[in-house]
Symmetry: C2
Subunit: 205 residues, 2 copies
């Protein structure tokens, strides 16, 4: 029965705007994720930490994994902004270097590796990570590459989505299968290789 | 005490060459992996299925994960052979297409995704997957690219290890984060992009 008087939603602070509560839940989740990893993200602990009611958290997120994925998106959004200065090499190098630093120096790698790892045996988590984190990030990169295509900076037949796998995907590969170092030097060589091509001049298909 | 008379190692068939027993254990493991996934790979079930003793299996492999990773390497070795015809584009396209078919049409994807997924929260498994599967495969690709470098087919400043992440790593990305299709068409475009470069002719750094 919807009475509009569900006191369990506002246990301590009275009625607050939904957007504010939502932001606080995401921030509390991000803090738990960064400090203790995925296992800390339970609706109980998130509710306790954010001051939101468990009812609210249950109503807004289908699972702790979905909440964790969205919190990671929010947490990383500023660091991963895709600046468009109009210079393809500079913009991609700058974004990819920030991405690698977030993974390696700012603790993002452990969180995202845990999310993607657990998603391999949890279809709901896989869908949540995709919807809340990886697809929105892929979309931002594709938007940038579509502008670069319009500017004539990419070959007209290049699939922007494929570039996402060649650049960020290659970094995820080194994160998840740590056989070779993931660092800014790698990111920069990756951009150079991806845009310029690895084949020797004059050796073409 | 090593008496050379450890009957528990030969429960049913008498003394057999170690290499033969080893191959049978790997084959039994591969069969279990393909049919039921990682959870089926226990030393008990592998011993029962292969006819080797549990003592032998325990002696030769540090963990079921290490055994699974080696079994997957053996299982996939023929399909993933890196043929060197001397034509860089053809060889890489052919190997990468076989790799994608193994992952998508021959059931390899589920096994490797499960191994890499579980490795994110299990350092021993991560080391085993690296040692038994991903590093040996990376080495084979690097060997090929070093020959291509010697033939002058790759730019002299290209890092062969980085090409592994751009090609196979990009495929693993689509396997583990299924936001875009992993298929042979993708593999072929990936080879073209990686070798030829995505930047428009005349637009260079």
């Amino acid at each position: 029965m919807e009475t509009g008087l569900d006191h369990t939603e506002r246990p301590r602070r009275g009625r607050r705007p939904a957007a504010e509560v939502r932001a606080e839940v995401l921030e509390a989740t991000a803090t738990l994720l960064a400090a203790e990893g995925m296992r800390a993200v339970t609706f109980d602990r998130v509710a306790a930490k954010s001051g939101a009611s468990k009812t609210t958290v249950y109503k807004w997120w289908p699972s702790p994994g979905a909440l964790a994925a969205e919190a990671y998106f929010t947490l990383s959004e500023a660091d991963l902004a895709f600046h468009d200065t109009g210079d393809l090499f500079t913009d991609v190098r700058s974004q990819l270097s920030s991405f690698v630093r977030l993974l390696t120096e700012q603790g993002g790698g452990r969180i995202i590796a845990e999310l993607i790892g657990a998603a391999q045996s949890d279809a709901d988590l896989s869908a949540a990570v995709s919807e809340q984190y990886t697809m929105p990030r892929r979309r931002l990169a594709i938007d940038y590459f579509e502008r670069a295509l319009d500017r004539g900076q990419l070959r007209a037949d290049v699939d922007p989505s494929l570039l996402v796998d060649q650049l960020w995907g290659a970094c995820y590969n080194r994160l998840l299968i740590p056989d070779a170092p993931l660092d800014v030097r790698f990111a920069e060589a990756l951009v150079e290789n991806t845009l310029t091509g690895a084949a020797a001049d004059g050796y073409r298909n």
